[in-house]
Symmetry: C2
Subunit: 295 residues, 2 copies
């Protein structure tokens, strides 16, 4: 029997292979840009969002060939957001996944363009024929991803996060901020399997509810790691939020209540999956994993 860690690692390998195929090295003068793009994308990551895509697709018997393309597109968007968030004008981070951030390694201009290129490529992958035989499905993927990561979604959330340094937010405001900044892409990752599989409304609602609770649990766990985690293990600078004077779930609730809240949300997320029976086993295990991870 394989452990969940092994399942996650095997999934990450498959998605990374697909990313490698979709972002081939260039020969010409664009080589340097593609190098930056690949650096930002192919380095080790847990690939949690792609895992959600692959395993939500599994619920509806979607072909792996379809699912892995969407998984790769979602990871491209996630990586672009990290590259732009790490920029000096934004969070100004120098370490990511244990390596120098993209702009430290390739310069700011290349990092901005690498992010732009990744975002652009992600939409192209979703819309292209190999992703699904039905063009309506491909269109729905593009529309939903655009909504999830745009001004009313991830990008808007990042803006709120930047403004948060100037004001003191309460729990409700932090919840909304994180819902936009990280929750909506997680939500799209879960929804994409249902879109690919033309799932029924009840199935879509169940996945949406799962994603909602999982996303929040994930964020609280992230805040806890920022306080409790070891910098080497986490692979990025820790203690950032506190030193920036930023309100987080942990600063507002305290570590104990934050931990309890994360566990409660993970349990709740798992309960939403009941109608999928044993097919959702990996999604259940993921919910447990995100609140127990050390990195």
């Amino acid at each position: 029997m394989t452990s969940f860690k092994e399942t996650l690692t095997e999934n990450a390998r498959i998605v990374t292979e697909e990313l490698d195929r979709l972002l081939p090295l260039e020969d010409g003068a664009e080589a340097r840009l593609m190098e930056a793009v690949r650096y930002a994308t192919l380095s080790a990551g847990k690939r949690i969002r792609p895992f959600l895509v692959m395993n939500s697709a599994h619920l509806f018997n979607v072909s792996k060939e379809s699912a892995v393309r969407v998984a790769a597109a979602v990871e491209m968007v996630h990586c672009y957001s990290l590259v732009h968030d790490d920029l000096p004008a934004m969070d100004d981070d120098e370490l990511r996944r244990g390596q120098p951030t993209c702009h430290v390694r390739f310069g700011e201009a290349a990092a901005i363009l690498a992010g732009d290129g990744l975002l652009t490529k992600a939409f192209g992958v979703l819309a292209d024929e190999p992703t699904h035989s039905d063009p309506k499905v491909r269109g729905e993927l593009v529309v939903e991803m655009s909504h999830a990561v745009g001004i009313e979604g991830m990008v808007g959330g990042q803006m709120l996060d930047l403004l948060a340094e100037e004001s003191s937010l309460g729990v409700n405001e932090i919840t909304r901020l994180q819902r936009l900044k990280t929750g909506m892409l997680i939500d799209f990752a879960c929804a994409s399997g249902a879109i690919l599989g033309k799932a029924s409304k009840p199935a879509r609602h169940a996945l949406h509810a799962y994603a909602h609770d999982l996303g929040l649990a994930f964020q609280i766990a992230d805040d806890l790691l920022d306080v409790e985690g070891d910098e080497k293990e986490v692979g990025k600078k820790t203690g950032k939020d506190a030193s920036a004077g930023k309100a987080t779930f942990v600063s507002l609730l305290g570590r104990e209540r934050a931990r309890a809240q994360a566990d409660m949300l993970a349990d709740q997320a798992i309960e939403h999956l009941v109608l999928f029976e044993e097919k959702a086993e990996h999604l259940r295990e993921l919910a447990k994993f995100v609140v127990s991870r050390r990195a």
Copy 2:
């Protein structure tokens, strides 16, 4: 009889109205981001790319409702590219269309995010149902735009442009750079009308050839304006390329030959339109306009 200038202005008005509709002011904390997005998009521009979309669509009797959405999406992408190109880490420009650039007005972080948001929105607009009743058409628009403005297109061209400051390029290399940086979006703008109208191969080829020559003519005219133009009229800093020591068509060919080359390309562009007869009148006039404009 309306002059071409009036036709261009009327078209710009229609597209700006659509952009205003597609990018509505927000109430909440995202208000500041949407303000930056609208600042970067709704300010006066000639809207040449949207004009190409509207008038290539006109060749195939595409509805105005369809065409104007694609025109707006193309302009969003153009505006995002300007916002990112103007950033301190890129071209570091402080003036655009006669106004402070987006990052000067709203800060660097907001400008990066506004660009990201615009690019994301553009793909969502293309893929959404009101753009065309046939989802295959919408998918083709997304795939083609992703290709035109991604790593092998506009973003790659901008990278080449940044690297060009460190090397001395010849005419062939400058041509390729400009083909990527500005040519491919102009090409997509022309192709989009054919995609919307499910045009025949010969029609698509003709438009492609027109776009190719027009794009190059446009760029040479732009280089000439950088040398000859009045800063107030042009609305951005002039003489930039020379002071940056950048090779341009003008520095390589001299003003006289560059002017002759631009005129020749515009004539050639017009010749490609012969099969569209009088329906392509506006596209012909545009070719004349781009090489004679003063701003």
